[in-house]
């Protein structure tokens, strides 16, 4: 029996789903929206986000473009941004206001890097384009930072080259200074030596002249002595001759020797005589010459004396200068030592520069942003949000449209006259929407898998659970909207409004962080945030169940909450499926059960009143559920009312009532 009912219910649900899908598919617009819509969306999204760059248009203006400003523009153009040169400052800014371009760049005239010149490039961006303004600003800053870095590199390169060239020069200078110092030392030493030597020179001519005179005198004396000696020699020779003559006599016994000896003595006497003459002549001549020499020497001495005086004066001057030179040389030595110390300090300082690489000086810290997910394009990381947004829009619009279509269709009335429970429509609408959205998501995922290389098989199960729960939540919200409103326009408007609200508070359009803390706290309950979080964790990060536990739990709880609201809404708006029951007329109810001349007020009186009813009246009141209602509203005893609710005979009802009476009497 139960299985038959279940089978019938399944059959009915299947029929309603089939009918819903047929109706949607037979509407050309619906088909277009449902089938081609997601394909179109993913196609457009794929084209839009498949690259990592953005197509930005920028206007630029400068009174006079310089090579540098042109290089900035070129840099932006190299990044595939369209740069239009404006005619004036105002037209450049106006282009941003009119949204012709995303930014206006105003370069100072003749932009150049010079000392004491501040180069300010002004950016004008449209802050109302919140989603783009930061991107534009970031792009511009990056581009200008690139060019600035290049310039900075050149300047630093120049600086470093100059520094090292200086170092080389300083090293050479150091060597030179050492050489200078050595030479200086030599100069000092030489100076000292020269000074000493010069100081030791005697320029006194007086004593010299005396000496010369003395010497001349001595020569004279010597000459005199020589003459005297010669005379002595002659005398001696004469004596000798005499001796010899004496000797000759002795030697006359030897006639042959006598002759020779006589000859020799004669010769020797001649020689002595000649010598004497010669000496005398020489003496005379020498004396003359000595006198001449003396004269010349006097002259020379006089001249020498003068010259010596001059030399002495010059020597004194030279000594003084040498002293100055020495002093200066000593000072030079001190200075050169100081200079050398400084140069060595400079060299040491230059040597102490550890970072000499230009790249490292200009960008000492290199930043590299690593993505926690492997993605090659914007589409990859936007994909979960896009899928959830797609689910949200279709999930809100489709079931609400289905319900409103049903409500406003010609067949709406017939739904009431068929024996079908409201829950069947809830289930059928949910399943219809789920099937169609699943189909669309499947198409989108397949296209993404094939053409955009977005792999969702790595964590297939969790991804599917996330998708199912997200779809369910949005479908239920859509169904709630469909239940609450009766016109398609209002449902559509509400769906779009709700979707917009979810979107704006999801962090996809505006950064959540820009909102107040108390809102950030609540935003995690935004279905888009929950869905995106779960889907992102499973699709991009391939996280396990642990990572998606929280968003999945929130989704699950939200689903039950919305389901509760739908059932409540159905209960409150029962006229759609079920007729409103009239209010219980308590006065009439009271009048039905008379007790004597008044109406029954308590259980014993009610029992008597029921007992006294004739069969026809009893049946009428039974059909009207009057016994049940009297016990509920007059006696206010719902448990007892429940017991007599399904009783069909007077005896059965009275038995229950009496049983209750006895129980209360016992108490």
């Amino acid at each position: 029996m139960y299985s038959q009912i279940l089978l019938k219910r399944k059959m009915k649900t299947g029929k309603v789903i089939k009918k819903n899908i047929k109706l949607l598919l037979r509407s050309k617009v619906s088909t277009l929206v449902l089938i081609l819509g997601p394909l179109l969306i993913i196609f457009l999204v794929g084209i839009s986000f498949s690259t990592s760059s953005f197509n930005l248009r920028m206007n630029a203006y400068s009174e006079s473009y310089s090579e540098l400003s042109n290089s900035f523009i070129q840099e932006l153009e190299n990044k595939s941004y369209r740069i239009i040169r404006s005619d004036s400052n105002q037209s450049c800014i106006q282009s941003v206001r009119e949204q012709v371009s995303h930014a206006c760049l105003i370069f100072p005239p003749d932009l150049e890097i010079e000392n004491n010149k501040v180069n300010t490039v002004e950016f004008y961006v449209d802050q109302s384009k919140v989603n783009l303004v930061y991107l534009v600003m970031s792009t511009l800053e990056d581009s200008f930072a690139d060019v600035s870095t290049e310039i900075s590199k050149d300047l630093t390169d120049e600086l470093v080259s100059a520094l090292f060239s200086t170092k080389t020069d300083l090293l050479a200078a150091d060597t030179s200074i050492t050489k200078i110092q050595n030479k200086n030392t030599i100069i000092i030493d030489t100076s000292s030596s020269s000074q000493n030597k010069l100081n030791s020179l005697d320029f006194n001519s007086g004593s010299g002249n005396t000496n010369v005179n003395t010497l001349v005198d001595e020569i004279k004396i010597d000459l005199d002595n020589l003459i005297s000696d010669s005379e002595d020699l002659i005398d001696n020779s004469n004596d000798l001759l005499e001796d010899l003559e004496d000797y000759d006599i002795n030697y006359k016994n030897n006639e042959s020797n006598q002759d020779t000896f006589d000859d020799d003595i004669s010769d020797f006497s001649g020689y002595i005589s000649d010598l004497d003459d010669t000496i005398k002549n020489g003496y005379n001549l020498s004396t003359k010459k000595v006198e001449k020499i003396t004269e010349q020497l006097d002259e020379a001495l006089s001249s020498l004396k003068n010259k010596l005086n001059d030399a002495k004066s010059a020597n004194s001057d030279v000594v003084t200068k040498l002293d100055n030179l020495k002093t200066n040389a000593n000072e030079l030595k001190t200075d050169s030592e100081e200079l050398q110390t400084n140069i060595q300090g400079m060299i040491s300082n230059i040597n102490s520069i550890q970072i000499t690489n230009i790249e490292n000086i200009v960008s000492p810290i290199e930043t590299r942003i690593n993505f926690v997910s492997e993605s090659s394009s914007n589409l990859s990381y936007l994909f979960p949000s896009l899928i959830v947004i797609l689910i949200m829009f279709i999930g809100l619009l489709l079931p609400s449209t289905l319900i409103i279509m049903e409500k406003n269709s010609k067949s709406a009335f017939r739904l009431f006259v068929t024996p079908t429970k409201p829950t069947l429509y809830i289930l059928a609408n949910y399943l219809t929407s789920l099937i169609l959205i699943s189909l669309q998501v499947f198409i989108v995922l397949s296209v993404s898998q094939l053409y955009f290389n977005i792999n969702f098989f790595d964590s297939f199960f969790i991804t599917m659970i996330s998708l199912l729960l997200t779809m369910t939540l949005f479908i239920l919200i859509g169904m709630l909207i469909g239940d609450l409103f009766s016109s398609e326009e209002m449902a559509m408007l509400t769906s779009v409004s709700v979707a917009t609200l979810f979107l704006l508070t999801s962090g996809i359009v505006f950064p959540i962080e820009s909102m107040p803390d108390y809102i950030i706290e609540k935003i995690k309950f935004n279905p888009v945030v929950m869905g995106t979080e779960a889907f992102k964790q499973s699709l991009i990060f391939n996280s396990g169940y642990g990572s998606v536990k929280q968003p999945l739990t929130l989704l699950f709880v939200s689903i039950f909450f919305i389901l509760g609201l739908i059932l409540l809404s159905k209960r409150l708006k029962t006229q759609y499926f079920k007729p409103k029951k009239g209010r219980i007329n308590k006065n009439q109810l009271k009048k039905n059960f008379s007790f004597g001349e008044r109406y029954a007020k308590n259980l014993p009186e009610f029992i008597i009143s029921v007992q006294n009813l004739n069969q026809e009246k009893f049946q009428k009141l039974l059909d009207d559920k009057s016994y049940f209602n009297w016990v509920v509203y007059m006696l206010k005893n719902k448990p007892l009312a429940g017991k007599i609710k399904d009783k069909k005979t007077k005896k059965e009802i009275l038995d229950e009532l009496v049983k209750k009476l006895k129980k209360s009497q016992k108490k």
Partner: protein
């Protein structure tokens, strides 16, 4: 068979403080076609909705005889699911899915009535033949003509072979030819044993089709009976219509005073005399015309129609209300 299938006991309907239906007592006999006529806004649709429990009466009760042999009456509101299976309802505007074919519509509603696939197939074939839509079974409902749509709507209402079929204005928006077709269909359905309650403003047709008629006027259904019974009850005799020249109808009316004349009605370009003895009045009329030097242009005697009965009742009620 003179057994009732449905009965209303002091059924009253109030929306807020506005009373729509004053206590109504009514019994619908099994197998009959019961016509309900009433002016627009008189509460016909509300009454029909109340019969099937779509609108809950403010007081009174509606009973359905679930077993004609044993007269087992059940309260409609307490047995809605049961009632839905036994009653068919065709609303004033066709109620089906325009983007489903004739067959699909019937199949879908058959499924909602929990009919098995075989039962649905059998019923659909029979019904398509009955409503003469067999050739259009695969045509989308929106592409059907007005008359065909109305027939499809009726077919949807009886896909589950109900014992009672309620039709609300089945010929509204239809031209006379199509309307005739529908009335013919209603008769055919009735001949198959289905009791029919039909509300319509097509008085001429309902007069010919209905077994009994109830006139809903001034929130109540006081006048119930066969056409003849109603005519007898309401009739102000026959009508003598005439036109004369120069047409001094006021003077004529003054000179025509006679106990046999129930009422004289000056319609501007003609004079209508209500009387139970038209032959005698006609003689007097000729004498009076001669006397007043009026030349008779046209004269005809008509019998009272349902329209007249209805108009009289409505008029009388309005007069009563004004006098009160």
């Amino acid at each position: 068979m003179d057994t009732s299938i449905l009965k209303l006991e002091k059924v009253k309907k109030v929306f807020g403080k506005v009373s729509i239906l004053d206590p109504i007592n009514l019994e619908i006999r099994a197998g009959e076609i019961f016509g309900i006529i009433g002016a627009s806004g008189s509460g016909k649709t509300t009454l029909l909705h109340t019969l099937i429990g779509f609108s809950v009466p403010s007081s009174g009760r509606i009973m359905f005889n679930k077993d004609l042999k044993s007269n087992n009456w059940v309260h409609v509101l307490n047995n809605l699911n049961f009632i839905k299976k036994r009653v068919g309802f065709a609303a004033q505007h066709p109620s089906f899915y325009e983007r489903l074919t004739v067959y699909e519509n019937l199949d879908y509603f058959g499924a909602l009535y929990n009919l098995t696939r075989e039962a649905r197939l059998s019923n659909i074939n029979t019904l398509l033949e009955l409503v003469e839509l067999d050739h259009a079974r695969n045509i989308l409902a929106k592409n059907l003509s007005g008359g065909m749509q109305r027939r499809l709507d009726i077919a949807c209402a009886i896909i589950h072979n109900p014992e009672l079929l309620i039709l609300d204005e089945p010929t509204s928006d239809l031209d006379p030819v199509l309307a005739k077709h529908i009335w013919k269909l209603i008769k055919k359905i009735n001949k198959k044993g289905t009791t029919i309650i039909v509300a319509s403003h097509d008085l001429s047709e309902i007069e010919t089709v209905s077994t009994r008629i109830g006139i809903l006027a001034n929130k109540t259904l006081n006048h119930i009976g066969t056409i003849e019974e109603l005519k007898k009850k309401i009739s102000r005799g026959q009508e003598v219509h005439f036109e004369s020249y120069p047409g001094n109808y006021e003077e004529l009316a003054k000179n025509l005073k006679d106990p046999l004349i129930i009422e004289i009605e000056n319609r501007g370009n003609s004079l209508v005399i209500h009387t139970r003895k038209p032959d005698k009045i006609l003689k007097k009329l000729l004498i009076t015309l001669n006397k007043l030097d009026e030349h008779l242009l046209d004269v005809k005697i008509t019998r009272l129609s349902l329209r007249d009965v209805f108009a009289n009742i409505t008029k009388k009620k309005n007069e009563d209300r004004k006098s009160n």
